[in-house]
């Protein structure tokens, strides 16, 4: 009897070591339509980036992307988020199918020209990192309903906005696959690992 238990334990251990990694979760509601599971997806959007290019869902066709919400005059968590997003930018420099998308939640102040200057000063290219502005309500709505991130105006806050420091990982089907605290280095390390895991799904 004892031998069997040991045997089972050993087999269990071995199988848990060789087991393939669990895929990343798929966030949001899902429903079954005609036998197929339909997942929550990023809603249609249209914004303008730092080069005045129109950015839509199609911009990220066949791409994995990381998204966040910030504004250039923010002095609280945004500079930390940008420091961390810069790490993601640098870590994914040689990966052609990974892009970054930063939305301004103060789009009236953050004009195309201002975002252009901001991106230049950060030393990043619009090929891989889009800073977008657009209709304020559209940005707030997509933050909350598509990315499950908080973004809204609040005059009582020191900077005038409430927003989360979340980084959101989106797959090639525009499904939300991960949420990370963009102000914490360890959480961003986890994001970097998850980007690799997500890319493996497409190999």
């Amino acid at each position: 009897m004892r031998k069997i238990i040991v045997f089972v334990a050993v087999v269990g251990l071995i199988s848990s070591c060789t087991k393939t990694e669990k895929p990343l979760p798929i966030f949001g509601q899902r429903e079954v339509v005609n036998g197929d599971t339909v997942y929550h997806k990023i809603a249609n959007f249209q914004f303008v980036d730092q080069d005045s290019a129109i950015i839509t869902n199609d911009t990220f066709k066949g791409q994995i992307y990381v998204s966040d919400f910030f504004f250039t005059s923010c002095r609280t968590i945004c500079p930390i988020m940008k420091t961390q997003m810069l790490r993601v930018y640098e870590a994914t420099a040689d990966i052609p199918d990974v892009k970054l998308l930063s939305h301004s939640i103060d789009p009236e102040y953050d004009t195309v020209a201002l975002l252009h200057d901001f991106a230049n000063r950060l030393g990043v290219s619009s090929d891989r990192w889009h800073f977008v502005t657009g209709v304020k309500d559209s940005i707030y709505k997509i933050a909350q309903t598509s990315y499950f991130a908080t973004a809204m105006e609040d005059k009582s806050e020191p900077d005038g906005f409430i927003h989360s420091g979340a980084f959101l990982l989106v797959d090639k089907e525009q499904r939300l696959r991960g949420k990370y605290d963009g102000t914490k280095e360890e959480d961003v390390n986890r994001l970097l690992v998850d980007i690799k895991r997500l890319r493996k799904e497409y190999e």
């Binding site: 250039t72 002095r75 609280t76 500079p79 940008k82 420091t83 200057d117 000063r121 950060l122 030393g123």
Partner: protein, 143 residues
């Protein structure tokens, strides 16, 4: 004897573990420096980074900074009142508005100044609250 050397090693290790202390400085300096370190972490490091290296051409570095060297009174004023417009640091032009922190007391500003002027590449010694109070009285409009 061996006990003594173990103790000596222990003390050295302990001392080197605490980066926010400078050897050979007065107790007052240490107090300013340690308080300044904490205030810097809360109010400044988001942009200028804990390393003092700044971020790209958005937020200028404090580590190596020719601007800081010649402009102590301006630095004191901009911590309190903020700064707008172009600023040249090490031959690079920066232009991101820095919000002031008017709620800081003169002592807190002296502590922050002591911290930044004695960290990284800087070694200027203590910046006393009396100096800071005098400098703050002479701040120009908008700096």
């Amino acid at each position: 004897m061996s006990k003594l050397s173990v103790l000596a090693v222990f003390v050295i290790v302990l001392a080197s573990c605490n980066p926010s202390k400078k050897p050979g400085r007065s107790v007052k300096f240490q107090q300013y420096f340690v308080e300044g370190d904490q205030l810097y972490t809360v109010h400044c490091s988001n942009c200028h980074q804990k390393s003092g290296k700044g971020l790209g051409l958005l937020y200028p570095p404090l580590d190596e900074s020719d601007y800081m060297e010649g402009n102590l009174s301006e630095v004191i004023c901009l911590i309190k009142n903020g700064k707008r417009g172009e600023l040249m640091v090490n031959g690079q032009q920066y232009n991101q508005a820095m919000p002031g922190i008017p709620t800081l007391t003169d002592l807190e500003i002296a502590e922050i100044a002591t911290f930044i002027y004695n960290s990284w590449s800087h070694d200027e010694g203590i910046i006393e609250v009396q100096q800071v109070t005098k400098m703050l009285q002479k701040c120009k409009e908008g700096t």
